[in-house]
Amino acid sequence: MSGQSTQWQATARLLRRAGFGASGPQIDAVAKQDRSVYLDTALGLDADRDPGAVATPRPIPVTPPTNYTTGAELTALQNELSLQMNDLTEWWVRRMVAVQEPIHEKLTLLWHDHFATSAQKVPFAVWMGAQNQTLRTLKLGDFRTMAVAMLGDAAMLYWLDGFSNNANNPNENLSREFMELFTLGHGDGYSEMDVREGARALTGWGIGPGGQTKVQPDQHDSDVKTVLGVTGNLDHTAFCDVVLSQPGSAPFVAGRLWRQLASDKSPSPEALGRLVDAYGPGRDLKALTKAILLDPEFTSSTGTIVTAPIEWMVGLIRALKVPIDDPVFLHAILLALEIMGQRPFYPPNVNGWPSGQAWLSTTSTAARVWAADKFVTLGDLSTVDDAATGDRIDAAGYLIGVGAWTDRTVAALKDLVDDPKRIVAAAVNSPEYLTA
């Protein structure tokens, strides 16, 4: 089935990947302009001044005193910490739903997945919230600034035991994962000795009660270390510089962001070359983000990335304008995300969330069916309601940003044209909507 113009479909893919789904009117507006101009404008906006962001201020909870003497006091403390984390998690979902221009929240989510830190271990919501804001602020700057910030971030230092890494006996967790997962890739040119020497460069960090961090000189190993062939009294910034100067780092970072934004498949060597050029010696994340979204291979990769649960859930809430003010309902949405395996702030491990086939299980199907049935009852389906029955398949596509259906999907939707709720619930479970 032919459906919308090629230009419209390319725009739809861009907006669906750069945000959380996309709806017809939004795609119409952008399809009229140069995609590069649109991206410059969107990426140039101040994420914190988006009206939706202003309307959903991030909770900055005060951590209660962490001393206790009885079991009851400990339980009360744990309950309070859990409530604070729950508030923060619900806040982020509300923020993702509320913003006018979603690209900033989407990129923040992708970098959260990259520097994956979980509240399963980090005890204080205020630390997780601060890291979240750091990623939001630095996601379009230079990668080095973001990487250095993560090496001194309270949540990260707690998560990867950086705070208990000291001169007398280094803890290699942060050093290993920084190279393996954040900057170089598994086994790419570093040795176990580099991991151990890198850990020495990262020694001495302490975390204060409010989450402020600093290197405690008496805990820091200021002797000479050798990391990746560079010898000196390396500290965390020098360590970061040595690692990022490895030839494998730029393609690794570019390839990771590509797999987040563009496809479950790696880019071709030619496309990767273009992305690395855009990233450049300045490690420019804004240029890299834009290069991915405008690359010809991005457009030709349609249908090769499985929509992750948060993208699917938030995208649907936005497209159907589903109200999520009811706390019980919002709570149920988060529980559904938990069961689908992607609760924000709770990646399963430091490697972040899985991708592709891992999201396609019979259980996830049941979760999506549950959510879709709820959303079509609460949401705005007027686009489909108002269409003649013969146009409702296309209207459903327009509502959720799908510009062309396969014959197989059309055949399945055809039986449902008398019932706008059922046709939309089915459309959001189609392979066309579950991939982008």
């Binding site: 962490t66 859990s82 803890n171 393996e180 149920a332 069961i339 299980s361 197989r408 392979p431 066309e432």
Partner: protein, 403 residues
């Protein structure tokens, strides 16, 4: 800067993780078990494999403890258990005190412990090492898992292997087949919606590989929905008043037990428990995790061993690697290599298999493996699943004799 009290933070951290957001208990009500005969129940006495994955790298040395070896106490003085604390297995080795139930199984000779399990050239990355265990391919990365390849080789019934939880592990993914997933936390798919998914499930020539994979899931749902519908009391998240413990090991094994007893035609179940990456303050955290293992596995196995459909059920429990012999400064341990693997169940011949690695003859601070993990898979495939092990583990493997 105010002094940072590490010990207090760690207690709170561990506690908040363990007793935190997801621990308000909303019990699953007991399932409405339908006694109705089904068209293809699993025959009584069929071999069933339950795979328990411990994510994060379980510290094998503080699980099966070499309590009489001075090298153990010297390498980790603050982490080590005293001889009088352990649950002795023999004169050299004892179980962590949290493993009371496993200790009873050992005495009744239904627990096998394979010591020093690993693979050549150990990789200290969680992710690469877990991939190696799940793909059974230590030399090079491959896209399919050992259970997935068994599925590929033995037909197309999506119920043959079931993962508890919605995110599929690599071991469950084959080239053409993938395991099903089960969770008790959603209302069943309404019949008319199932009909729509069924209509969406046929391939279209314009599908990408990713789109085909979605249609394949819908074909599987056609089979799994009516079958799981028999054993699950489905819950609606919107009706759950509190956050619930949706994925404790005990809740996962409860689902397995219900399926086994209802003769669901499943031969392989996959469950998991995370949190074993104990780089800091390990002793308490690790003991708490092992307690979860013990309190989940013990009643499950007792239940299974007396049930007609569970008497040939075997539990395999493994982790992606063990941990460094010496403790680090934070009273934790860093990533290591070889570790013990547990096999339990009525058909298991209890005892030790594989040689205990030396605590002093080390490979870069880590234990040297004495047994290849693929030999364990080989025996489970040939004995429990009664299948040709070669598609899963390749040629040249052997049984260890624990079955």
């Amino acid at each position: 800067m105010a002094e940072f009290n590490r010990r207090k933070f760690l207690i709170v951290g561990g506690g908040a993780a363990a007793a935190g957001l997801l621990s308000g208990v909303v019990a699953l009500t007991l399932p409405d078990m339908l006694g109705a005969a089904h068209d293809r129940p699993l025959p009584e006495g069929s071999g069933i494999l339950v795979i328990v994955t411990l994510n994060g790298g379980n510290d094998g040395i503080n699980t099966v403890i070499p309590y009489t070896d001075n090298a153990y106490h010297d390498a980790r003085p603050e982490l080590a258990f005293k001889p009088e604390e352990v649950l002795p297995l023999d004169g050299q080795l004892g179980l962590n005190p949290a493993l009371q139930g496993l200790s009873e199984m050992w005495k009744s000779r239904s627990l096998a412990i394979v010591r020093g399990v690993g693979y050549p050239n150990p990789d200290r990355s969680h992710f690469r090492s877990m991939d190696i265990w799940q793909t059974a391919s230590p030399k090079e990365p491959v896209p399919t898992g050992w259970i997935g390849r068994w599925l590929d080789a033995t037909g197309d019934d999506p119920l043959r292997a079931v993962n508890i939880g919605g995110v599929m592990p690599l071991m469950s993914i084959g080239e053409r087949q993938v395991a099903s997933a089960l969770s008790g936390w959603f209302p069943g798919i309404p019949v008319e919606t199932m009909a729509t998914l069924s209509a969406l499930s046929d391939d279209d020539p314009r599908d990408t590989a990713e789109m085909s994979a979605i249609r394949r899931t819908y074909r599987a749902s056609k089979v799994t929905e009516p079958e799981f519908g028999r054993v699950l009391k489905r819950l609606d998240p919107a009706a759950a008043a509190n956050d619930a413990d949706v994925d404790s090991l005990q809740a996962q094994l409860d689902l397995v037990a219900r399926c086994v007893k209802a003769a669901v035609p499943t031969r392989v179940y996959m469950v998991q428990l995370g949190g074993f990456d104990t780089h800091a303050a390990e002793r308490g955290t690790h003991q708490e995790l092992l307690k979860k293992v013990d309190t989940a596995l013990t009643p499950f196995l007792r239940d299974m061993s007396t049930h007609a459909h569970g008497k040939n059920l075997v539990v395999l429990m493994y982790s992606e690697f063990g941990r460094r012999v010496a403790a680090n400064s934070a009273q934790g341990t860093d990533h290591g290599a070889a570790g013990p693997v547990f096999l339990a169940g009525a058909p298991v011949k209890g005892g030790f298999y594989g040689d205990e690695p030396s605590l002093t003859d080390l490979n870069d601070g880590d234990l040297k493996s004495t047994t290849d993990f693929r030999d364990i898979y080989h025996e489970l495939l040939s004995r429990t699943l009664q299948t040709d092990p070669i598609p899963s583990v390749g040629p040249g493997r052997r049984d260890l004799g624990f079955l």
